[in-house]
Symmetry: C2
Subunit: 480 residues, 2 copies
């Protein structure tokens, strides 16, 4: 592998360039001809497929069903909930022509589907028998990005799922919001090995049209925060303008209570930012499309024998439900393959050559610690499984350490500013709840309130800005 | 179930109205607020998920990988292959604004992705090592329909998959085209129980930009033909304008040979049109989201006992990998449930009540023949499996009979016209290969050449239009 093919910049030297190189050179994504848009290549899509399968099973297990909504939404629907429209308007792509004809009404290319979904809900829901209605949609959303874009983190089109539910009472919707957030948290922590903080958004940062927004926030390796997922309680803010009403058991007409929630391919970006190193990606085994890559090492005269052995090992691992692949390409050298799979972040490599075969052993190389060791062939499956488990835990532990050591406490505005400037990360401090205080910090530091943790303590110290005594603990941070 | 909830028109009386009622009332799809667009509801989407899983496995087994392409394609790319652009131009939705700003270049909402995919191929392919490149995309395509629309059959947006491949030589691309067509045929015949005819499109009917198009054609219950899937050989028609070149083993620069192919949710429409009856859908077991619906029949005092029995039976069937569900809703009567599941086309219903329990039996009701019979509980799994197999075969057999008895032969233009007028269906006859003769028939009959079967005989009789002796056998038909 020549220098230009591998990652040519250190993660600590230029995080942004390093990240982009990781995304593009590993075959995760590439730039589309249209600025701000990216293409997901097979390696990136394979990760998305695994994420989708995990999440889809969980959503089905909890009673959600999938459907399909068109990508074009008439302007008249999008404008019906005023705050919602105001929020999305600047980012909407508009279809104004079909063929060479002007359309009578502009059509928005889906920025999110609340308005379209709820115009249908009002048709589908008429009785308490129709509730709860819990639908999910795997699709893409489009929002013209005016800020600088970053592959998978901020793009004009992104893959995601959006869930939309309707309930007969408010507390059932509360429960739904939390159930979904827990499902997201489990996905991100147990599979992606990324620790999260759960909590609420401030009124300023909540979803436009929501009663309240819950979210998961994580910390990237450069100390910037990333919003990983959101789950919104919509109250009756949409059911009233969209007239989503039902007859209850006493035949009284009621408006439904609603939720919406989504998670996007952005979490693949987080995966790279959190775990990667100077050699490229490091994928947690639970989410890696290839958990074990077998590289047979041979010369011309040993080729057939060693390859056959590699296929035998592959079969044994496959039979134990390990995602394994053999790189049997003759067009590339073993050294090239080692570097390539390292860059792609495959958690475990297995080398097998003639000498190993004579000793009934194989060599395992961990991607995370770069540790290498021989195991006996009869221990193959057990050792592989236990090593994958260790890698998964090690990645989560490292990320937890990073989060902990980069979450600091400030008791004054000065403190807050100096911590943010010196080290980034999350800064916990007390806030009175007023937007003006939130704005004042933002203006001075570029940081905003990422989250009000669910376990936030109240009235512990005065507001770092105005000194008011009635406060709650919030986390400030600079974010992507 | 009141009259209005069930299907209110006979299939033989008004096929079009019957079809629409089937689609909407069974919960397959619904109309979007934008004319020409439809929404896939959970029941319809569940069928699409099964189709997707079957096809996705086959495509992966044969070395294809999935990816994601943005939905917006710049005008300059779309116009690069001239015939292709001419063909799609009238149907393209154009994005001209983002927020309140005019875009510098119009963006097409994906009518198909050849041009965008191939602009990337030229970047990704540089050596023989990069070939073959075999990618697939599960997404939706948009084509503004000017003709009258019909849910799932003809809409302005449809779910599909589009495959795009590049090969080092022409014959490998030929093989790819046929491999894919065989995969489609297997899906449609073995799972959807719809017989197909395989062959070529005429030059007039082929994909705009293709060297040749292969396709599968089927016959609907009303005698109209439906194109079920297409697989195109693109020759070097795209690789030249898009400069998709590679260095071969002798370091000579070569253009790649390409294929593209797709199948859409239209086949769900075919499923309904081919198998349904006056009571609604009849789904072949291999594609039905619910293969067996268990309806516990109880009074208040037997409710708990009978429901528990139903859950036990459900578990037994589930353990044998049968897709089974129990309708345990108290808000609906058994009679309502019977009608509802019949309308939804679930192939097998299982009734269980107290009396059945006393006799260790359950009642099975076939949706296709409406036959009902008791089986002993100990035979549950075996009898269910064998009955599902019988239903699958019966539906395919019926559809084959319909296709056979509605495929007729014409030896003159008069014959052709009178058969088409009297009974529709496919009419086999000899054609000289000239577009003028094809057009002449179309003008007189509204029928076109649906397909030149792969097993067509040549020079058997003169062209039905011009009398030329050099002919090939083709199938005419009126089509959706």
């Amino acid at each position: 592998m020549t220098k230009e093919i591998g990652i040519t910049v250190k993660k600590s030297f230029d995080f942004s360039d390093w990240y982009t190189q990781c995304v593009v050179k590993s075959g995760i994504a590439d730039y589309s001809p249209v600025k701000g848009f990216v293409i997901l290549r097979p390696y990136g899509y394979a990760i998305w497929e695994i994420i989708r399968e995990i999440l889809d099973n969980e959503l089905k297990r909890t009673g959600h069903k999938n459907g399909f909504l068109p990508v074009l939404i008439p302007e008249s629907l999008l404008t019906r909930e005023k705050n919602h429209f105001q929020g999305f308007m600047p980012e909407v792509f508009w279809v104004t022509k079909s063929g060479s004809n002007d359309l009578r009404e502009k059509l928005a290319v889906r920025p999110t589907s609340e308005t379209l979904a709820y115009s249908m809900f009002s048709k589908w829901i008429s009785s308490y028998r129709d509730l709860p209605l819990k639908l999910n949609f795997w699709n893409s959303a489009l929002r013209a990005e005016i800020k600088s874009t970053k592959p998978l983190i901020r793009n004009s089109e992104f893959l995601w799922q959006e869930g939309h539910t309707a309930h007969s009472d408010e507390s059932e919707a509360d429960d739904e919001v939390r159930t979904i957030l827990d499902i997201y948290r489990n996905l991100i922590e147990e599979y992606l090995a990324i620790p999260t903080i759960s909590g609420l958004k401030t009124d300023k940062e909540k979803f436009v049209g929501a009663k309240y927004t819950t979210c998961l926030e994580s910390l990237m390796a450069d100390g910037k925060a990333l919003q990983m997922a959101t789950s919104h309680h919509l109250g009756q803010n949409f059911s009233k303008p969209f007239e989503i009403k039902y007859l209850d058991r006493d035949t009284n007409e009621q408006y439904v209570w609603q939720t919406s929630w989504g998670i996007s391919w952005r979490i693949i970006g987080a995966l790279i930012m959190v775990h990667g190193d100077d050699r490229g990606l490091i994928l947690p085994p639970n989410i890696s499309p290839v958990q074990v890559i077998i590289v047979p090492i041979y010369k011309d005269d040993s080729k057939a024998t060693v390859k056959q052995k590699a296929y035998d090992l592959e079969k044994k691992l496959k039979d134990s439900h390990i995602r394994v692949s053999t790189d049997d390409r003759d067009e590339y050298t073993s050294g090239w393959k080692f570097n390539d799979w390292e860059m792609k972040g495959v958690p475990l490599r297995l080398n097998i050559g003639l000498r190993d075969m004579e000793q009934n052993q194989v060599e395992l190389i961990r991607r995370d610690t770069r540790e290498r060791f021989y195991i006996k062939e009869r221990e193959l499956v057990d050792e592989t499984l236990s090593t994958l488990k260790k890698i998964q835990l090690n990645l989560l532990d490292s990320a937890k350490n990073h989060l902990q050591s980069n979450t600091r406490t400030a008791s004054s505005l000065e403190d807050l500013i100096s911590i943010l400037d010196a080290s980034g990360g999350f800064v916990a401090c007390s806030w009175c709840g007023k937007s003006e205080c939130e704005d004042a910090v933002k203006e001075k530091t570029m940081a905003d309130i990422r989250i009000i943790p669910f376990d936030a303590k109240n009235n512990v110290s005065p507001c770092v800005v105005c000194g008011n005594q009635l406060t709650t603990e919030v986390y400030f941070g600079r974010a992507y």
